[in-house]
């Protein structure tokens, strides 16, 4: 359909009417379907599907005829709303609102909104020793792992990216393979060795395990970062009399801070979200958050509001970091994706 044909003024009128009708169909069908889901009154599901599809088509055609791409944009924003709902609805209703329910509310059927909102689940949860310890251990271990890993990875990555030394190629390949290594492959021998050293189920052992998990990823990301820094900057600084270390600190680090922080965030998220290493290195005395949550998921004795509260607590640090750092994270996601 071409838009710039000078026809009569009836065309914008028809287009506008189509767009309005389409919007009305979509909104009306959505409202009816929501009422149906809350208090069923016998509306067949296919009516909603047909009305929504017809509404979208009318809206698209009508608006596109009025202004180029307008329909595409409006329809895209509606579809985007659908995607956001797909993400937010399970999390918002089950984890956030679910955590505010009482145990008794479970008996009166699933509730969209908590009938009597309360934070009692939080108090109950903090009285479960392995959960409280798991939260504390996870905060400690993941922060330590993120900091240690970033500092060590920084030096190693800089050496591999910038300095020429014998064995550089082999070191590079080593980092790459380590970065690809699946967690379970790393753990099989690590556990066998840890058993001999008495490191299983200790906090230092847990921290070492998490560092082993995160260091290859961080080193790999930072090699890419330092490779991308213009060497001339550094050379100029060195000609002006800066030593290698000064050049690293004053010239290279300031321009790479966003990537370094991103790498540290990746390390924290990887460590915080990890179940495998935490589970395998835990026998009874050093719970971490993820295995503690799995313990709460007992098929018979689980109490869902508590579980949701635990999930909410576990999500807050990673969600906060992700949303604060989103601009940098999105660029690095491709690199960090293998883990």
């Amino acid at each position: 359909m071409t838009t710039n044909e000078p026809r009569a003024a009836t065309k914008p009128l028809i287009a506008r009417a189509a767009a309005i009708a389409g919007a009305g169909l979509i909104v009306g069908a959505a409202v009816l379907e929501l009422v149906q889901i809350a208090r069923p009154f016998g509306l067949p599901f296919w009516i909603w599907v047909v009305a929504t599809l017809a509404g979208l088509t009318l809206l698209w055609r009508g608006l596109n005829a009025l202004r180029q791409d307008l329909g595409a944009r409006v329809v895209a924003s509606l579809l985007a709303l659908g995607v956001v709902l797909l993400i937010v609805v399970p999390f918002g209703f089950v984890v956030v609102l679910g955590s505010l329910q009482r145990r008794a509310d479970l008996l009166t059927g699933p509730h969209v909104l908590p009938p009597a909102p309360t934070t009692i689940a939080f108090d109950q949860l903090m009285r479960i020793p392995y959960f409280e310890a798991g939260l504390r251990n996870s905060l400690l271990v993941s922060t330590t792992a993120a900091i240690v890993t970033t500092l060590l990875g920084l030096l190693g990555a800089y050496a591999i990216a910038r300095l020429r030394f014998p064995g550089r190629g082999a070191t590079y390949t080593g980092v790459m393979v380590a970065y690809m290594l699946p967690g379970v492959a790393l753990l099989v021998p690590l556990v066998a060795i840890f058993k001999g050293l008495g490191l299983i189920d200790t906090l230092p052992g847990m921290a070492i395990g998490h560092i082993a998990l995160t260091v290859p990823l961080v080193t790999w990301i930072l090699i890419g970062t330092f490779d991308g820094v213009e060497p001339d900057l550094e050379h100029a600084a060195r000609i002006d009399g800066a030593s290698r270390l000064q050049a690293l600190r004053r010239v290279v680090l300031p321009v790479t801070v966003p990537s370094i922080v991103t790498a540290a965030v990746f390390a924290f998220v990887l460590s915080w979200n990890d179940l495998l290493v935490s589970k395998v290195l835990y026998v009874g005395s050093t719970p971490m958050l993820a295995p503690a949550i799995v313990n709460l998921m007992d098929p018979i004795n689980r109490i869902e509001p508590q579980l949701s509260m635990a999930g909410l607590i576990a999500s807050i640090p990673v969600l906060t970091l992700a949303l604060l750092m989103q601009r940098y994270l999105i660029r690095g996601l491709g690199e960090g994706a293998v883990k």
Binding site: I87, I293, V294, A337
Partner: protein, 312 residues
């Protein structure tokens, strides 16, 4: 190399008058010692150690290798029905995740690449499934999909789609498909974000030229956008396959490998069970090598392709 010019001009600023090359090596050593120690101690040594594990039997003393058994552990694969089942089920996870995950991710990226108010908010929402701890996703869907207490079952009944809330997590092979669906929910947004980053580099002029030539939206997608995204598409498929081969948390937290005895096992989970629950480190190491082989080959394809500019 620029190193030559520096040697001439900056004499005196180097570590105690060493030559440029020696100085580089000294710094390399200094910077690398901690990382190298970590890599060798935590990754290199363990990997070699696990090679030893594959040729030894069950150990009676913790931390000691068991008796030498030759290639027995490696030969066990050929006669292990659970291995075959887990391998087949790994494919049952990987294929739908790769196809649907990437198609949905691409579709979402194309939608969010349009200009409309609230777009950045929608993009931020995409980070939520990626950042959420997998165990939280597991716990969330455990309740959401519960047949008595879950919201989804009730909504489906009220919408008139089913007569009673379905048992989402108890059939064979239905449970495996549910786990796959949850896994796709957790991963499609990462794929979408990867496509969105690539779409930023789509040359505006090409699209406008196609538009002026009268190409409709679908034709522009088919003949301009899709060829442009081809390298990203291949990279996204490899990434999704890599992530799905290593799917563990959802299986462990939601089904523990059941229902039945092994119906939701994949190779990764089987490796975990064999090694850490049956403490059969020898056979576990063999399984770990097999999983690793697949992962490393795929990851090499990805990094090599990226290094040559073939994949983005």
């Amino acid at each position: 190399m620029t190193a030559e010019t520096i040697t001439v001009s900056e004499r005196g600023n180097r570590l105690s008058g060493l030559s440029i090359r020696r100085e580089n090596q000294a710094y390399a050593a200094l910077f690398l010692i901690p990382t190298a120690a970590l890599f060798i101690g935590l990754i290199g040594y363990p990997v070699l150690y696990s090679l030893l594990l594959t040729v030894t039997g069950r150990s009676t003393v913790p931390g000691r290798l068991g008796p030498f058994v030759g290639l027995d552990n490696w030969l066990r694969i050929t006669a292990d029905p659970i291995f075959m089942q887990a391998a087949g089920q790994t494919l049952m996870y990987v294929i739908p995740s790769a196809v649907l995950g990437v198609v949905i991710g691409l579709a979402v990226a194309l939608v969010l690449n349009e200009h409309f108010p609230g777009r950045s908010l929608a993009r931020a929402a995409l980070l939520i499934p990626w950042a959420l701890p997998p165990v939280v996703v597991a716990a969330m869907f455990q309740w959401f999909l519960d047949s008595r207490r879950g919201l989804l079952g009730e909504w489906l009944v009220n919408a008139g789609l089913v007569d009673q809330p379905p048992l989402f997590l108890s059939g064979v092979p239905g449970t495996l498909y549910m786990l796959t669906a949850i896994h796709i929910w957790k991963t499609f947004s990462l794929i979408a974000l990867i496509f969105l980053v690539a779409l930023q580099y789509l040359p505006e002029e090409t699209i406008n030229a196609a538009r002026i030539d009268g190409a409709a939206r679908w034709q522009r997608f088919r003949h301009v956008v899709l060829p442009f995204l081809r390298p990203t598409l291949i990279a996204a498929v490899i990434i999704q396959v890599l992530i799905t081969i290593q799917l563990f948390d959802l299986i462990f937290a939601l089904t523990g490998g059941g229902p039945g005895r092994y119906s939701t096992y994949n190779l990764y989970f089987y490796t975990f069970k064999t090694t850490f629950e049956q403490t059969d480190f020898g056979y576990g190491a063999v399984l770990a090598y097999i999983v690793t082989a697949f992962v490393v080959v795929l990851a090499l394809l990805l990094t090599r392709g990226r290094a040559r500019g073939l994949l983005s």
